[in-house]
């Protein structure tokens, strides 16, 4: 489904271009500019009710709607995959209300909206990565009150976060945070990278692309501008580490990608495949093959992409 241009939103459409009215877009763009100007700071914004439920990407959708234009090429992924139901649904939404070309190709997309992953392929200057964020406040599970956490950010008072990581080490022998692993942006604001696995955290650092984070229900926008220093929290004697697998992708053989575990039967058989479906497909097309290349799953995905 490369560059499948759709024009099922005729000029006499019932809704404004990209769904949101222009005043709302302007309000969101102002919040985006503020967020870019203060990397990692959570800018409050007048989040609107959207035609999809809260928790299903309303923040990301509003960000995309505020920045998208007819010349954009839009990609939408959930769990790294283009064909997960919610990603399919959101992609169809923008094809309909914004007349944009859609793609699964990470390289040719100008806007990539994502939930829970950063694509494996390095992003380039000019691309925008839009994250869907359920809980923008990294300190929320340590301090439930917004009035408190706002003050903690203002005073750069992050001791509680470090104590929490320390308690992890004393209880489990390691930092037991696996996704939404907190990061420090330009050594000033503590930020939640959204529930991406910590495997993806290093990709936040010095990235060429603009990274925007939208939390619709919580009504916050934050951003990491290009070439910004983003550091995952750690201790000198317990340095930050990412996930690794003993296996490689069963389909494309990748040994440096984030893998999903696929249950094959009820007798404990498993296979591991790339979570980033486009990266995996691209590798297979380039001739890479894993131990189970040609597996049923391989065909199923190709069939589904029609």
């Amino acid at each position: 489904m490369n560059l499948a241009t759709s024009s099922n939103n005729p000029p006499e459409r019932y809704y404004n271009y990209a769904y949101l009215d222009e005043q709302t877009k302007r309000m969101i763009r102002r919040a985006i500019l503020k967020a870019l100007a203060i990397p990692g700071y959570q800018a409050p914004f007048g989040s609107r009710e959207m035609p999809v439920p809260y928790g299903w990407g309303t923040g990301g959708i509003q960000l995309t709607a505020a920045i998208i234009g007819p010349d954009d090429v839009y990609k939408c992924i959930d769990q790294g995959a283009d064909d997960t139901t919610n990603a399919v649904s959101i992609r169809a939404f923008f094809a309909k209300v914004a007349d944009v070309a859609t793609t699964e190709d990470t390289g040719e997309a100008t806007i990539i909206q994502t939930r829970h992953r950063i694509p494996e392929k390095s992003l380039k200057k000019g691309q925008v990565l839009v994250f869907q964020v359920p809980q923008p406040e990294p300190l929320r599970f340590l301090e439930p009150r917004e009035t408190e956490t706002r003050a903690m950010h203002a005073y750069e008072e992050y001791g509680l976060q470090y104590v929490s990581l320390y308690e992890n080490i004393s209880r489990y022998g390691r930092i037991a945070s696996t996704a939404s692993y907190p990061v420090m942006v330009e050594e000033r604001y503590l930020m939640s990278p959204s529930p991406i696995p910590k495997f993806d955290n290093p990709k936040l650092d010095e990235n060429e692309a603009i990274m925007l984070f939208g939390a619709g229900r919580e009504k916050r926008i934050y951003a990491v501008p290009p070439y910004t220093h983003v550091r995952s929290l750690d201790f000198e004697d317990y340095p930050f580490e990412t996930q690794t697998w003993e296996e490689s992708c069963a389909l494309c053989g990748a040994d440096d990608a984030y893998l999903d575990e696929v249950v094959l039967d009820d007798a404990g058989s498993r296979m591991f495949v790339c979570s980033d479906t486009h990266n995996c497909a691209e590798r297979r097309a380039a001739g890479h093959a894993g131990p189970m290349a040609g597996h049923q799953l391989d065909q199923a995905e190709e069939g589904d992409a029609e």
């Binding site: 809704y15 769904y19 009215d21 409050p44 007048g46 609107r48 009710e49 959207m50 035609p51 439920p53 809260y54 928790g55 299903w56 309303t58 959930d78 769990q79 790294g80 995959a81 064909d83 997960t84 139901t85 919610n86 399919v88 169809a92 939930r115 829970h116 992953r117 359920p134 439930p144 009150r145 917004e146 009035t147 489990y172 022998g173 037991a176 696996t178 996704a179 529930p195 991406i196 696995p197 910590k198 229900r217 009504k219 916050r220 996930q243 984030y258 893998l259 999903d260 575990e261 696929v262 249950v263 495949v273 979570s275 049923q296 799953l297 199923a300 995905e301 589904d304 992409a305 029609e306």
Partner: protein, 367 residues
């Protein structure tokens, strides 16, 4: 195969929607329900959807109830998503409930309240016995009896009863008050002023507010509520267009209003007075209006004053969690795939278990 099943293309979504439409229609041999029937005969469902949907339109709310198959929070969501796209050309004048065409008005504070007690169309004092005659066809149109004497108009409020004694705090508008907060355009911020609080409560989930109000009656933040007055009826909505410069009536809405008398206040500088909590909702819903008034009153006990003890007195807790569109979306988003995070968790727990069993076997070996 499991993995393929959790992913789904556009076709799966389309087919699911077709199935949903079929289920909504039910057995096609049964006459399809008309939205006008919902509007007229399920009017309290329509009222709730308008109230929590923050949009007064009986026809749209009836359509939402039909489309949502009677799932009211889902209907509220449909109305909210529609409402947010509407252009906004201004704010109406404040409605005047003294001028209400009252259909129901009761006070639990005074037996002979000026204007009298008007029971109106209420479930109160009905015996909750299923009326099997309703299940049979051919009900003749029931008719209410017309009163022998006309009601007092305008209908004085509970406040006017106390006015000459100053026993009840007044609700005079603040001099130079800023424009009211608009919760539909600005994010929640704390501490919340009363305008923001009342807006959040007015669109808040009836069940949530009911339980909170109930909790305060049972001692979790006692507010000593006394129902000063409840009134329900029609009020005019007036708007001042810029080009005219004076108010014109643009329509009429049904509202339920509750004035709940709260605990006493008073200090060295101020004579003791009754405080009050306020509830106002679209349509006819006394359960919601009363709950709202109790919660409004309870939320005045900020941490600094009353040593915040109960959930109902905690404004961040109450206001952040009262919206059922937000709550329903976020709870149900757990249906979306989380297998990337789960894989990360799974890896960790396997590793921790491996380390645990290694430690155990070392321990056994040492013994």
């Amino acid at each position: 195969m499991a993995y393929v099943a959790v992913k789904g293309g556009e076709r799966a979504i389309t087919n699911a929607h077709k199935w949903l439409a079929e289920e909504r229609r039910g057995n096609p041999s049964v006459t399809e329900i008309e939205t006008a029937q919902v509007r007229e005969q399920l009017s309290l469902a329509v009222d709730r959807v308008m109230g929590e949907g923050s949009c007064y339109d009986r026809d749209l709310a009836a359509l939402a109830v039909k489309q949502a198959r009677g799932d009211l929070p889902e209907a509220v969501f449909l109305i909210r998503a529609y409402r947010t796209t509407l252009p906004r050309f201004g704010a109406s004048e404040a409605i005047d409930t003294v001028e209400m065409a009252v259909r129901r008005r009761v006070s639990a504070a005074f037996k002979d309240i000026p204007g009298g007690q008007v029971l109106g169309p209420t479930f109160d004092y009905t015996h909750r016995l299923l009326d099997f005659a309703l299940a049979a066809d051919g009900e003749t149109a029931p008719r209410a009896v017309v009163a022998e004497e006309a009601q007092t108009y305008p209908m004085p409020t509970i406040g006017s009863v106390f006015a000459h004694e100053g026993l009840l705090e007044t609700d005079e508008p603040t001099e130079d008050a800023p424009e009211p907060f608009d919760l539909t355009r600005e994010p929640m911020s704390f501490p919340a002023d009363r305008d923001q609080r009342l807006q959040a409560l007015a669109r808040g989930d009836e069940g949530f507010l009911l339980s909170l109000a109930y909790s305060s009656q049972r001692g979790w933040g006692n507010t000593h509520p006394l129902c000063g007055e409840i009134r329900m009826g029609e009020v005019a909505v007036e708007f001042v267009p810029d080009e005219l410069g004076f108010a014109i009536e643009v329509g009429e809405i049904t509202v339920t209003e509750c004035q709940m008398l709260g605990g006493l206040t008073g200090s060295a500088e101020k004579a003791p007075q009754y405080t009050r909590g306020y509830g106002l909702v679209f349509g006819h819903s006394e359960r919601k209006a009363m709950s709202m008034a109790i919660v409004d009153r309870a939320l005045r006990d900020r941490a600094t004053e009353a040593g915040q003890v109960a959930p109902v007195q905690d404004e961040e807790f109450v206001l952040y969690h009262s919206d059922n569109v937000e709550a329903s979306g976020f709870v149900q988003h757990l249906k979306l795939p989380h297998y990337v995070d789960f894989q990360a968790d799974l890896q960790l727990i396997r590793r921790l278990r491996r380390e645990y069993f290694e430690r155990q076997s070392l321990k056994v070996a040492a013994e």
